[in-house]
Symmetry: C2
Subunit: 354 residues, 2 copies
């Protein structure tokens, strides 16, 4: 891993994930053959797609110390992808999203299995229960993959502290997101705080710290990584919000305008709310969150957002946050190679396609 | 902790849980005041009741080594109660149970909060999402409580391996339980295997190992603890199944005959199925699993189970497993004090009231 080749890095993480998933799926089958679909579903969910963003940021945090990760460190960092699987599986269930990455969400997959095998009882409740448990198992497997990597003890214990904090922040951010959907007013500051916890910290800052801890970080480096990672993470979430409204389904793996159908409260929607007149608002919010929006209505909502200028304001905020994160790379603690890697990652996290 | 006083032991675990929950609830509030109900709900859920069974078995495993746990070890063992909170919160959601320990289940509690605060959107979906996330958070908090106890490194790493295995077995057992509800045939062996993973291992064997590992166990002791713990855990689950059908609501904290309304596939029901004639079966299963069973119908189902002799067969199996577990205490590796503690715990785990 002498150069920073993203595709090689992903291949390396995938190799670790494939080995772990194969081994642990067999273990499940040794408990009962009925667990076969659990191992298969989790393995496909994780291996068939995914950008490996959190392992990649952990890698960047590791190499920012000037060291190169060995196989145990790579395994520990790859485990973050299993944590992300938990977040996505539970998120899709909470949002009642039917698809993920262009395929049925886990609760839909197990609902279909119930129907295909002509099981007794409610297929929906079976699918829901399976998604709860597969998410839980993915969370536990993440831990097991990290622990069984057997990185040096001191680094493991330090990385574990960050890992715990990261997971608490993730669940807190997810709850705040759900809570926000219930609020009757819109508030950009609140939405930005959610973006900070859901993505700023969970997707970028903490993975950077996690990797740095595995390498035996310095506190000075950790601080510099926060100054880079937090604004970038917020920019990443804002980009994700734009893609949830304007993104191409072939790229996002979600139906067009899915966030509009879900009525997802984001910074983009809050800024739209701020910019609209009373009557425009009434029109917008009579459609926003309608679960059966047709493509004409999606286009109408998109047009209102664009004409309000909110998408432009979000773009400007992304640019502002991105330049803030890039300035943080001037810190002396970064060497030329780290700067190159982190710069290229900032472009990936905020680019205009999914 | 010179004597084995169960109530003192529970108080000690409760002190550790109270401190942890207070500290971590404040941390949530520092992220956002909107997280206040999360900390309150989890704290009440855990502190208001619960038998602390898994921490107590961990304690028994610890003292079986001849040592006495210090405060960090007690904190690590108390953390198992947070893991159990995750299991119960997610279990109630999957079963759509409305109460737990005589109070609203977490998803019902947050559904009510949504209604009381006149939030936007679906109160049911909000309650469900909150239960998913509070369960996830309890799982992560369990880890954090264990890790932050800062037990000696070698013992921590060894206990962690058991902890990972225990959580994988828990999720596997829970999935098998859900899967079983979908099967159209009844099978006592399958139900016994579920009891083994859901309870034999998760509630008793693994907590014993966890405690022993924290004390720096020997492999010989671990084996002896399995020979004691596995049959006891199965007996415990069988007792729980009987209580789910015949238990007194004031003791179980669940409505009378709740498992009959849920249509829960247990060893008891499978044995009832085996013992009934074709026409009796048709009558039984026309009522079993009916969500609106009235108290007369609950009595009818209870009477059929009793007249089939299945409850007696389950009682006999409990006795058989209990004497098997008690014989395991003859192993040389146990001293007189361990035998006394484990004997008294076996009585608690299989006694006839909840």
């Amino acid at each position: 891993m002498a150069h920073f080749e993203l595709s090689e890095l992903r291949d390396d993480f995938n190799r670790h994930l494939r080995t772990f998933l194969a081994h642990n799926s067999s273990h499940l089958q040794s408990i009962s053959p009925a667990l076969e679909p659990v191992g298969v579903a989790l393995s496909e969910f994780i291996l068939d797609s995914g950008k490996r963003l959190r392992p990649i940021f952990a890698y960047a945090g590791f190499v920012a110390t000037g060291k190169t990760p060995d196989a145990p460190a790579m395994q520990a960092m790859a485990s973050l992808e299993l944590l992300q699987a938990c977040a996505l599986i539970h998120d899709d269930l909470m949002d009642r999203s039917e698809t993920r990455r262009g395929k049925p969400a886990i609760h839909k997959r197990f609902e279909s299995l119930h129907q295909e095998r002509d099981f007794a009882g409610s297929a929906t409740l079976f699918g829901d229960a399976a998604a709860i448990l597969l998410g839980d198992l993915a969370l536990v497997w993440a831990d097991h993959m990290f622990h069984s990597a057997q990185c040096p003890v001191e680094q493991t214990l330090d990385a574990q502290r960050i890992h715990d904090e990261m997971r608490i922040e993730l669940m807190a951010g997810q709850f705040l997101d759900v809570y926000e959907q219930g609020q009757r007013d819109h508030n950009t500051d609140r939405s930005l705080n959610i973006a900070r916890y859901k993505s700023g910290k969970y997707t970028i800052e903490r993975p950077l710290h996690f990797g740095a801890a595995l390498a035996g970080e310095s506190d000075e480096l950790k601080k510099a990584l926060s100054e880079f990672g937090l604004p970038l993470g917020e920019a990443f979430q804002l980009r994700d919000d734009l893609l949830g409204v304007f993104g191409d389904p072939s790229m996002t793996g979600k139906p067009a305008g899915d966030d509009l159908r879900e009525g997802k409260r984001t910074v983009l929607i809050s800024m739209t709310h701020e910019a609209l007149s009373e009557s425009e608002r009434a029109h917008f919010f009579s459609l926003f969150g309608k679960t059966d929006l047709d493509s004409g209505e999606v286009d109408t909502l998109r047009a209102i957002i664009s004409s309000s200028g909110a998408d432009q304001r979000v773009e400007e905020l992304i640019s502002h946050l991105t330049s803030q994160c890039l300035s943080a790379l001037d810190a002396e603690v970064f060497d030329a190679r780290s700067r190159e890697i982190l710069t290229s990652l900032s472009a990936i996290a905020t680019k205009r396609s999914a």
